[in-house]
């Protein structure tokens, strides 16, 4: 069974080029020729191109592979070609039907990759550009393409902070360049550059023709000021000349939690309560009820709740995509509609997307016009359980894990489910909330409406000289709705605001105009030139409005009843930026042996003042295809292709606020408590004579008129090797990039009146190795086995920071009790994103104390934690690193590493007759996780009364268990610090994707008027090897260069099984 229409997506670009080259005119010829184009299995190939050699005349084979064409004479030669197949030239034969067999072309070097403003053959690349295999990416149904990209491409690190449906994916290419600013790459969608990493979710993955990742500077410098973080080029599908193709892809399946965390059962829970408050227990769990006093033994096998069982669900998902494409030489079209709907494994969470697009290309003489539009509406229900609020006790999993499994004797167990709060918990100090009720009742919805119009006109002045003028307009409109009724954490009668609702909307409108001139020529087929020059203009306007009302009287109306509440916070914001760029590229090659390429871009941005407005970003690269040399010819049967590449270039990063060069004043109306975090400012309001309206404009930022681009200088040395007629392809890249003038939200001496300002300061180096190996292990008629394995190692080093700073300490925010305590450090000479705290040495043991009656005093030679007033046996003990006899903040050090040392993936694709099987493993090595959950659930503190704990806490230190290194249940302040006790190895090996499909033979489905029928089952996240004790090792709730790998109340990751069908008509 061959894949006529099975889409070798990566190769489609070839067809496009072919058709551009052969503009087919009307056929004048006299001699009719007929025939069939078949594959080696004997199946007809529909849509194959039949071209009269040396002319622009030709035709396309029909659904059965049949064709007919008229040729001028008997000696005419026909060229038969089809995407993914080796072209065949044959003399026309009008005597009998011609049978042409096309062989599959397994060569990847002729693939076309999309580089900035142009396409190039992979073979001709001088820089480091990787192509994603769309076939692999789409082997399992995902909501957006980036969800499937993790581990697929060397050096492209794709992860999500947690497992929430529709959650944002973070793509980092070749390490983080920027400390405080966004490190996500630039996305270029059909030529339209977007800096917003959430853009991926507005595209239907099956509309994507190809994804190319530009990694080194010679590839990215053409995007100049925005290229430093790498570029993800996304090209969507266009219509192709040929019969209309109608396809339907559908799938449905389910997801489930991969594991739950063992919690204490009723027995262990009561045992702990007894330990925390032995004086109270006689009136609570050990009270007299029904004529007898209850004891611990009564709780052995008592009915109880496990709240995780209650809050997780089997979640359904479905995906439908309908598309039609086709066209003639003059008009080509591609249209699609899709719907994706995914419930989350946490109840009341959902993500769905409705999307439609239309793309038309019209060609008349030398003018080609393309008009396209794409609209998508995504809607997300539920909010992330790890969102930062004042207290970590507001986070969902604090209640899911912490809600107690039982009640006291005499109180019905079901009361825990029915009441909004646990009546035995003092909610003034503990914000625990009925997790089921809060998850059910909280209304959180966000919508994104993304509309894009684009069009271009291309005119060919001379052969090879083309001008392309394009324009794009996008509207990205987002809306957020949240409503807290009286049964929710933030709207219950105890809350300050009572029933409340918030509505917010923001819109970004961007237009882009690009004018690109390209010229392609060669001298005697020896010297090939390709030049490009262009001017682009871009403007973007943004506005944001939100309002909130509180104390809403009629909660049954939901958002519609907001008008009846008291007006509360109103926020507005507007901003605008523009960019003017000049760019150019010159490629040269000599007989496909020696290559040279230079690019240049000048970017002017409104974000900077006139003295620094323009940034200049050059690059240069060269390649040597040494297998083209005569002396390599004898080795051709072994080494079929070898190329050495070297590149250098400068790229920039402009991810700063629109008005960061100005001193700004703002009216801040709320007294804030979070003063020491970067960018925070005291408010400007003062109620003279109790009048609430006296607000003052406060200076919120210092002017930095000299702010400019952050510049990254990158070297890349690459080697591409292909062995045994490209059965084995290998690419190795070595790179080193240094980012200077870092745009850094730099800490200032607060004696200046400011905590931080945006400055060009600091220096970061990323260097690494990437290796990709593609092999065709078996390539028999009925059996194919291809493998792809990739590795990437990146070493990140901070070279300089703000003046005088040797380390930048950061507190990852998740709870007010810890927000002032730094948990991460970026120190000169080390990688950024290192975890910071004390080294845990276990618990204080009896031998550390002098016993005096019943009291224990620490021996004088045993260091004590300074803020612990009364150290007792079983309390946590930390290393006294500086040996000064006490443990204080000077004993903190690096305790973990949030960034992986080695990442990669391993894909195996098998085909046997109609069956296809794809197995994909992903791994990450050498990174740690800061499991902040343990601060509350493996450590009993003052808030811990009635708070259930992880089952692992059963093994805590007690007088009966004096060797344990899990701290005693006590009111200890030394429990409340970051230490190596919380650090866990985050390395993992994951069976990420398995998909098994069967494609029915064409013959069998012809009667059904189908030309393709494939059914499949696909699983994701099926198995993970990891030592991490939390839900999932791929977690980072405050993801960013400074605070990677933090876990606190993260949305767990699900595994999923989907059943699907691909239909082609």
């Amino acid at each position: 069974m061959k894949k006529h229409l099975a889409i070798q997506a990566g190769k489609r670009g070839v067809v496009l080029t072919w058709f551009l080259l052969f503009s087919v005119a009307f056929v004048f010829a006299q001699i009719p020729v007929k025939g069939t184009v078949k594959d080696i299995m004997g199946e007809g190939i529909p849509g194959a191109s039949i071209q009269l050699k040396g002319t622009t005349q030709g035709t396309i084979s029909d659904i059965d592979g049949n064709f007919s064409i008229s040729v001028p004479n008997k000696n005419a030669v026909l060229v038969f070609s089809f995407i993914g197949y080796v072209s065949v030239e044959q003399k026309a034969d009008n005597q009998r039907p011609m049978i042409i067999t096309l062989k599959e072309d397994s060569k990847t070097l002729d693939e076309v990759v999309v580089v900035g403003y142009q396409e190039m053959r992979k073979k001709d690349l001088t820089g480091s550009v990787a192509k994603a295999s769309m076939k692999d990416l789409l082997s399992t149904p995902v909501g957006s393409f980036d969800q499937a990209m993790g581990g697929r491409i060397a050096g492209v690190n794709v992860s999500s902070g947690e497992g929430m449906p529709g959650g944002q994916m973070n793509i980092v290419i070749r390490g983080n360049n920027s400390l405080t600013q966004d490190n996500s790459p630039l996305y270029v969608i059909d030529g339209f550059p977007v800096e917003d990493p959430t853009i991926g979710s507005s595209i239907n993955p099956s509309d994507i023709e190809s994804i190319d990742i530009l990694k080194d500077a010679s590839a990215t410098a053409i995007y100049g000021a925005r290229g430093a973080n790498g570029v993800v080029m996304i090209t969507t599908k266009k219509g192709k000349v040929g019969e209309p193709q109608i396809t339907y892809d559908g799938s449905a399946g389910f997801q489930n939690i991969t594991k739950t965390i063992p919690m204490m059962d009723a027995y262990e829970f009561v045992k702990l309560q007894n330990e925390i408050s032995p004086t109270l227990i006689g009136t609570t769990y050990f009270k007299e009820y029904e004529g007898r006093r209850w004891t611990l033994e009564d709780y052995r096998n008592i009915p109880q709740y496990n709240w995780q069982d209650e809050i997780f669900q089997t979640a359904w998902q479905q995906n439908h995509s309908l598309s039609a494409s086709g066209g003639s030489e003059t008009v080509r079209y591609n249209a699609s509609l899709s719907y994706f709907d995914q419930d989350g494994i946490l109840m009341n969470t959902n993500y769905n997307r409705l999307q439609g697009r239309l793309n038309t290309t019209i060609k008349k003489n030398k003018l080609t016009v393309n008009l396209a539009t794409n609209y998508s509406r995504t809607s997300q229900t539920g909010s992330s359980p790890s969102q930062n609020s004042y207290s970590g006790m507001n986070n969902l999993f604090y209640s899911v894990w912490g809600y107690r499994p039982i009640t006291q004797p005499g109180t019905p167990l079901s009361s825990l489910k029915e009441n909004i709060q646990d009546e035995d918990v003092n909610y003034s100090y503990d914000y625990r909330f009925n997790p089921i009720m809060s998850q059910k009742e909280e209304f959180r919805k966000s919508y994104t409406n993304y509309l894009q119009f684009n069009g271009y006109a291309e005119y060919e002045f001379l052969k090879g000289l083309k001008l392309k003028v394009s324009g794009t307009y996008t509207i990205d409109n987002r809306k957020g709705e949240s409503f807290n009724n009286s049964k929710t954490r933030y709207g219950n009668p105890v809350s300050a605001d009572k029933v409340n609702g918030t509505f917010s909307t923001n819109e970004r409108r961007t237009w882009l105009n690009e004018n690109i001139l390209t010229y392609q020529t060669n001298i005697k087929k020896t010297h090939y030139f390709n030049a490009m020059a262009g001017v682009t203009l871009q403007n973007s306007d943004y506005d944001f409005y939100s309002f909130k009302t509180i104390q809403i009287p009629n909660e049954s109306l939901g958002m519609a009843g907001m008008n009846a509440g008291l007006p509360s916070t109103t926020n507005t914001l507007q901003s605008s930026w523009s960019m003017l760029s000049y760019l150019g590229r010159l490629n040269y090659n000599y007989k496909s042996k020696y290559y040279g390429s230079v690019t240049f871009r000048a970017d002017g941005s409104s974000k900077f003042r006139s003295n620094n407005r323009f940034g200049y970003f050059p690059s240069a690269s060269a390649a040597w295809n040494f297998t083209e040399e005569k002396f390599m010819k004898p080795l051709e049967s072994i080494l079929s292709n070898g190329k050495l590449r070297l590149s250098w270039g400068l790229t920039g990063n402009n991810r700063v606020g629109e008005y960061d060069t100005y001193a700004l004043l703002q009216v801040l109306k709320e007294r804030t408590g979070d003063f020491m975090s970067l960018g925070s400012v005291p408010s400007g309001v003062y109620p003279f004579q109790n009048t609430l309206t006296n607000t003052g404009a406060v200076p919120v930022s210092l002017p930095n008129k000299n702010l400019k681009w952050e510049t990254t200088e990158q070297w890349n040395l690459g080697l591409d090797l292909a062995f045994f007629h490209e059965r084995i392809n290998m690419t190795v890249d070595l790179y080193s990039k240094v980012t200077r003038d870092l745009l850094l939200e730099a800490a200032l001496p607060s004696s200046s009146g400011y905590v931080s300002a945006m400055k060009n300061i600091g220096k970061i180096r990323n260097s690494g190795v990437e290796l990709t190996l593609n092999t065709q292990n078996i390539n028999k008629k009925n059996f194919h086995w291809n493998s792809n394995i990739n590795f990437a190692i990146n070493k990140n080093e901070v070279l300089a920071l703000a003046d005088n700073q040797i380390a930048l300490l950061t507190a990852a925010k998740f709870d007010q009790a810890y927000n002032g305590q730094p948990s991460y450090i970026a120190k000169i000479g080390n990688s950024m994103g290192m975890m910071y705290g004390y080294i845990y040495e276990g618990t204080y043991k009896y031998e550390d104390f002098n016993k005096n009656g019943n009291s224990y005093t620490l021996k004088s030679n045993v260091p004590a934690f300074t803020s612990e007033n009364n150290t007792q046996p079983g309390m946590p003990k930390y290393a006294d690193l500086n040996g000064d006899g006490k443990i204080d903040s000077n004993d903190q050090t690096i305790i973990g590493n949030g960034l992986p040392k080695l990442t990669g993936g391993f894909t195996n694709d098998f085909e046997y007759k109609g069956f296809d099987l794809s197995i994909f493993f992903q791994w990450s090595c050498g990174n740690d996780i800061l499991n902040a959950n343990k601060l509350m659930f493996e450590s009993s503190n003052s808030k811990a009364r009635e708070l259930n704990q992880y089952a692992s806490f059963s093994n805590r230190w007690t007088p009966e268990n004096p060797t344990s290194n899990i701290p005693v249940a006590s009111n200890s302040s030394s429990n409340k610090v970051f230490s190596s006790r919380l650090i866990e190895d985050g390395s993992f090996l994951r069976l990420k994707t398995v998909s098994l499909g069967y494609t029915f033979p064409t013959k069998a489905i012809k009667k059904l008027n189908l030309n393709k029928l494939r059914v499949y089952v696909a699983g994701q996240n099926l198995w993970t090897l990891s030592n991490y004790s939390g839900y999932d090792p791929e977690v980072s709730i405050r993801d960013g260069a400074l605070t990677p790998g933090l876990d606190f109340s993260a949305y767990p990751r699900a595994y999923s099984i989907n059943f699907g069908i691909n239909l082609g008509f």
């Binding site: 000289l465 690009e514 005291p682 309001v685 404009a697 004696s751 905590v755």
Partner: protein
């Protein structure tokens, strides 16, 4: 060739449509350049200079913890684990409260600098008003510096606004230089401030009285600086500072202020959004307002952090005396304060300042407050107006009362808040920075020191305060006796108004008086209001005479290399 020309030309068609200022984008926010365009904006800028006073690191909340630990008050509450910070004697130089206060004060200073530099360019503004506003900003700047100096000693000092992001490292300036600045600045600014009378004795705005009174306080503290630095007292200098203190304090005497008839009048005013209803006693208050029902949030935590313990009934519809307003009651007195009142026969201030009762809740329904449990002998004896619960009120036995002589601070009481029901944590209660009784006691103290014996003026001032409190006037004391009496008087009159810690420091007694409490607390007799290890809060070292320079400052300010001693 022609075609090539056309092609190249058309490349630039798009650009030619755009004008050359395509890349100019004006900010959509206000900027200092465009501000100060009229009187309203000038007042708005002045408001923001005041605003630093009510932020949470300062009077808005955390200052109440920061300087709350002394020999009369401590962080208490049965079974409550210690806070991390100065108040529980376990702070370090990265203490977030310390860093936040430091930043808030410097933010205020920078806003004042900016205001002083720009106010003059406001068009069409009354010249007198300009001068007054400027004087207010100058006073506030000096006040922020005075807090910095009393807490930290030598600190970075600047009187121009920050204009650049570079070269911001500033060394510490000798505190004597800053004291000279404060003295000159406040005395000059006072000339241009409105008098309290012109402000209708509304103590939210800075008046001449407030300026002189605060300056007197600064001078007194300066006189005691030698003690915390372990220097030989320079009696001549000390006398000079006492003379200045007396002079400025006496200037307040002519401004029409007086003590309210009852000690509690001024505090009931503070709690109920009123000002000086009975006499012009309150000179400067930090204002708080609102009940969290509006966009503008200017509520504080006074009465909630520090107040009579009361249950949280904010989830119910209970109002009035059923729900007198939630308080965590973090601040408790030490038994020493009660001893002092009893020794002086001072029941009025005692009954107001430390709670002689706790609220009792009903056991049914929404559990409203239905009665009070009084300390022995206190039922039915309170003289101030308050919620009456009537027959259900009960009283402890003498033995029960004697078991615990550490009681919650009751100076700030939420039951007088006007809005009802009250927000859970946020209160409109103002903070009394300067009262007339403090001015009188400062004169008494300074006069005694200047003349090496209590003068008639000294007796007049201290006795006025004592008489109002209903205790016997003093007479015939030696200098030292008078000084000790004055110290006790300040304790009884001004406890929980956050002067005690600095008083002890300037008297050179802070470390000693604190450590004296430790064995008493450890013994636990008459003192059960706190965790078992409450005694450790009092075992402070001499490092506590100063705050630590925040680590966040030192890590980026290359000009500060040495922290305060012991930090």
């Amino acid at each position: 060739m022609k075609k090539i020309k056309i092609a190249v030309l058309s490349l630039f068609i798009g650009t030619s449509f755009t004008s050359c200022n395509f890349l100019d984008k004006e900010p959509t926010s206000l900027t200092p350049e465009t501000f100060y365009s009229n009187e309203t904006e000038a007042f708005s800028a002045l408001t923001s200079v005041y605003a630093n006073l009510l932020q949470s690191p300062f009077y808005g909340s955390d200052y109440l913890f920061l300087i709350g630990g002394d020999d009369l008050e401590h962080f208490g509450g049965t079974g409550r684990s210690p806070r991390t910070g100065l108040i529980c004697n376990n702070a370090n130089n990265a203490d977030p409260l310390v860093s936040a206060l430091w930043f808030d004060l410097y933010s205020g200073i920078d806003r004042a600098n900016l205001f002083i530099e720009n106010i003059d360019r406001t068009p069409d503004m009354d010249a007198k008003l300009k001068v007054q506003y400027k004087a207010e900003a100058r006073f506030l700047r000096a006040y922020y510096y005075s807090v910095l100096v009393t807490c930290w000693g030598d600190v970075p000092f600047k009187t121009t606004s920050t204009q650049s992001v570079n070269n911001l490292a500033l060394p510490r300036t000798n505190k004597q230089v800053i004291y000279d600045f404060i003295t000159q600045e406040i005395s000059e600014a006072a000339n241009n401030l409105k008098s309290a009378a012109d402000l209708n004795y509304l103590p939210g705005r800075i008046s001449k009285s407030a300026a002189w009174g605060i300056l007197a306080r600064v001078c007194l503290f300066r006189a005691g600086e030698c003690y915390r630095d372990n220097e030989q007292p320079n009696e001549e200098k000390r006398k000079e500072y006492f003379t200045q203190a007396s002079k400025f304090a006496q200037m307040v005497m002519n401004e029409g202020h007086d003590l309210a008839p009852n000690y509690w009048d001024v505090f009931i005013d503070l709690c109920s959004d009123q000002y000086n209803t009975t006499a012009k006693e309150s000179i400067w208050e930090i204002e708080f307002a609102g009940n969290r029902s509006t966009d503008t949030r200017t509520e504080g935590r006074i009465g909630n952090i520090i107040g009579i313990p009361a249950p949280d009934l904010s989830s119910t519809t209970l109002k009035g005396k059923d729900n007198p307003g939630f308080s965590y009651a973090f601040i408790y007195s030490t038994p020493k304060l009660l001893d002092l009142y009893e020794k002086n026969g001072d029941t009025e201030r005692c009954d107001w300042n430390i709670a002689p009762f706790t609220y009792q809740q009903s056991t049914s329904g929404d559990r409203p407050v239905v009665s009070r449990l009084f300390e022995y002998g206190k039922k039915g004896t309170l003289k101030y107006p308050s919620y009456e619960y009537g027959p259900l009120d009960i009283e402890k036995t003498q033995a029960e009362s004697d078991k615990n002589r550490a009681r919650a601070c009751a100076k700030f009481r939420r039951e007088y808040e006007k809005s009802d029901p009250r927000a859970k944590n946020d209160t409109p209660i103002n903070f009394p920075v300067l009262r007339y009784s403090d001015v009188l006691l400062m004169i008494a103290e300074a006069e005694n020191e200047i003349n090496s014996a209590p003068t008639p003026l000294a007796y007049e001032c201290i006795n006025k305060v004592r008489t109002r409190a209903g205790i016997a006037p003093l007479a015939n004391l030696t200098k030292d006796e008078f000084r000790e009496a004055m110290k006790d008087e300040r304790a009884m009159e001004l406890c929980f108004e956050y002067t005690r810690r600095f008083d002890l420091i300037r008297w050179g007694e802070y470390v000693q008086k604190m450590n004296e409490q430790a064995p008493i607390a450890q013994a636990g007799i008459q003192w059960t209001q706190g965790p078992a290890n409450v005694y450790t809060y009092f075992k402070i070292s001499s490092a506590y005479n100063y705050f630590p320079i925040p680590a966040s400052e030192m890590s980026v300010n290359s000009e500060i290399k040495i922290n305060n001693p012991g930090w």
